[in-house]
Symmetry: C2
Subunit: 428 residues, 2 copies
């Protein structure tokens, strides 16, 4: 039987899990793919930290870049992480030297995926990155294969388990962001430095990759990104009273030949499918023609789910299934129009914390009407004995820039005691 | 660029949709797969019925079996249907003559899939049947590729849109089976002869195929099958009051090295994921190690969704992605122990329509206790002024044969005025 020699570079939680998995499941994978996955080399920054792994000395590379030069190696699994530095060097060199690459590195693919794909195609090797988007959810393979027939109009969903866990916990326990975050760190649902998870940049990287796969376009950095740090308990409670949950969602959609990419906290109906996904799960919704709406849901992170994705990529290479990294040749990928969301219409939730005195409400509603934003619902909540009030407004659909203009105009008013909030609503 | 010549045999709703799709999307499919899908021949029982299709005369085969002999043809798409007759003849002959086959025919695969796979493997051609299970839901490709790393413990879900539509409508409109069915036929959600959809045999075929893919076993006919014809409005209302919906579910699960396959109406919590899937949608839930729980949801039937599946299979062949039809070589597939569910434990809903007289309740509960079935909840509902009563019992978990024994024992009692009901409960 044919054999593919593999080097695993990076032995953190994921690399360690994958190493053990491949040792344990070599036979069954060989049977399924008609080719043996043979781990020949490994490398890690700090060998001493190698936990409970018993790795024979001869497997260790002296320098991780040797993997890109060794004639024995067919396939390199990059698990270093980060868009720059060693990961970048490793993957560029590997593809240049005609090694297949499997990576879980969304930052690298979101930044250099286009360049890397060209090298992979020229050298007829695979560049596979299922594990970079939503861990165990096989969304990339589904877009490239199971749903290949479809013209995709929209992809959206929950792409970050940490932020979904935090928002779900704030909702279910009526706790503040800081309390829940501290707890999530203790439980291992948030990293020591969770900023990429919370500021939307993790979702942004994943969404850019999905967009390019859905629309056959190059990766585009025109994307609106907001995180969840400014969502507070009051927002969650007001949303709940109006029938909504707040979720950090990513959207990429084709409207009148323009593509809009956006990541932001979103009010979504409690009864909707996305509204029902709590905790660390990920869910991807794809609208395509002819298939209609497809949903794929599963565990988005962690060594086990990520290994499931890495092994699906490795298996594809074992079977000799050479595909274009982005589903279509780089020569055929398009430069589509990616547009800023300022001209796109949204219905939105706005919240103003104001001094509770006469004339404030009429001033606010006047600013709305002067700026072409019509109000669908308005709730005024005075805080007892404090002389302050929350005004929550749900708007009809209007251009995003009108919504932002209103926020800006009202922010400067003397009666405003806290930065106003703007959270877009999704009607699905 | 390479070219694959295709014959489409059968031009009903699906064949017609596929023919048009392939003509319209030839270029983009060629680009994605680096190979041109060329429809060279078609065949249909009744040419005169060819709707609005303008098919050039030279495309028509005189006899559909010519496709299996023609040296020009590489790939045959079988859309005749049925486990026997022309479909069987076509697919066996095609594979024997080294033609790739793509089919949407679940009955054929569930009955002859093992034999057909052996021929396909011996002749190194593909036998692909994504469209045979849940239409546009790419579950087969996900099991064979995206989730290939996983040891599957359980697969279950909603595999039939017609029955799900009928049960959902009975629930939402508080109508009887007959009323809803008549309506579903008018709307095109049920066929003129919907018996395979309603008696569970459609789900049974799909589940057998999924089982063999999940557990690397041969197709096995040890399967418990019940349909939805006996579910009435009262069952739906009682279930609802207890927090459940009734769904027709298929389950295949590995428990202590035994596989249990079963299709039956099931009480499932309203708040569960499956409980929330209404209408004609299909949903497949897969429990695997290491991935955890994965869900794939989408449109399960209709020409558009089915074409999405057929084209994913055709594309796989265009890319030269030759795989074992059942994920693993026939030589490696196992004969696993498939067990009857009689020894498996269930919690269940039982309903007895009885004469409303003293001693009945105590007799019923006595029979339960004598037969080792303990009662979790009991609701007695007298029907006003009619002298009859409904007794609904939710049991703790107990062996299926004990539940059936109770039904049998109580059925014979003089106070019983209607066949008692047994509906198993799923706790997920």
């Amino acid at each position: 039987m044919k054999k593919i020699n593999i080097a695993i570079i990076g032995l953190g939680n994921i690399g360690t899990y994958l190493f053990k998995y491949l040792n344990k499941n070599k036979k069954i994978l060989a049977k399924k793919n008609n080719c043996i996955p043979n781990v020949l080399y490994v490398s890690a920054k700090n060998k001493a930290k190698k936990r409970d792994l018993k790795i024979s000395k001869k497997l260790w590379l002296k320098n991780y870049l040797e993997a890109t030069k060794s004639k024995e190696i067919d396939l390199i699994v990059e698990l270093i992480g980060g868009a720059e530095g060693p990961a970048k060097k490793l993957v560029f060199n590997a593809l240049k030297n005609k090694k297949h690459v499997v990576t879980a590195n969304k930052a690298l693919i979101a930044k250099y995926g286009d360049k890397l794909a060209k090298i992979a195609e020229a050298n007829k090797v695979n560049l596979e990155f299922e594990a970079s988007v939503c861990g165990g959810v096989p969304v990339i393979r589904s877009l490239k294969e199971g749903l290949i027939a479809n013209k995709i109009n929209k992809v959206y969903g929950i792409f970050n388990g940490t932020s979904n866990y935090i928002l779900s916990s704030m909702t279910n326990r009526n706790q503040n962001f800081r309390e829940v975050l501290a707890d999530a760190k203790k439980l291992g649902y948030a990293e020591a430095n969770p900023s990429a998870d919370l500021n939307g940049s993790d979702v942004s990287d994943k969404l850019k990759i999905l967009s390019s796969l859905c629309f056959n376009s190059f990766i585009n950095n025109n994307i609106h990104v907001e995180g969840i740090k400014n969502i507070d308990k009051d927002d969650i409670n007001f949303a709940s009273r109006l029938g909504y949950k707040i979720k950090l969602l990513g959207f990429s959609e084709l409207l009148n030949n323009n593509i809009y990419q956006r990541v932001h906290p979103t009010l979504i109906k409690k009864s909707s499918y996305v509204g029902s996904i709590d905790g660390v799960l990920n869910a991807v919704i794809i609208d395509g023609d002819p298939v209609g709406r497809s949903i794929i849901q599963g565990e988005g992170a962690g060594p086990a789910a990520t290994t499931s994705a890495l092994v699906s990529d490795i298996s594809s290479i074992l079977r000799g299934n050479i595909k274009f990294p982005f589903s279509i040749s780089s020569k055929e990928r398009k430069k589509l129009k990616f547009k800023n969301i300022s001209e796109r219409n949204f219905s939105a939730y706005l919240r103003f914390e104001v001094l509770d005195k006469s004339g404030v409400l009429s001033n606010i509603t006047k600013i709305f009407s002067l700026n072409k934003v019509s109000i669908k619902r308005l709730v005024q909540n005075p805080k007892k004995n404090k002389g302050i009030s929350s005004i929550v407004i749900i708007t009809h659909e209007t251009k995003d820039r009108y919504l932002n203009k209103i926020i800006k105009l009202i922010s400067n008013k003397a009666y405003i005691i806290k930065n106003p909030k703007l959270i877009r609503i999704d009607q699905n």
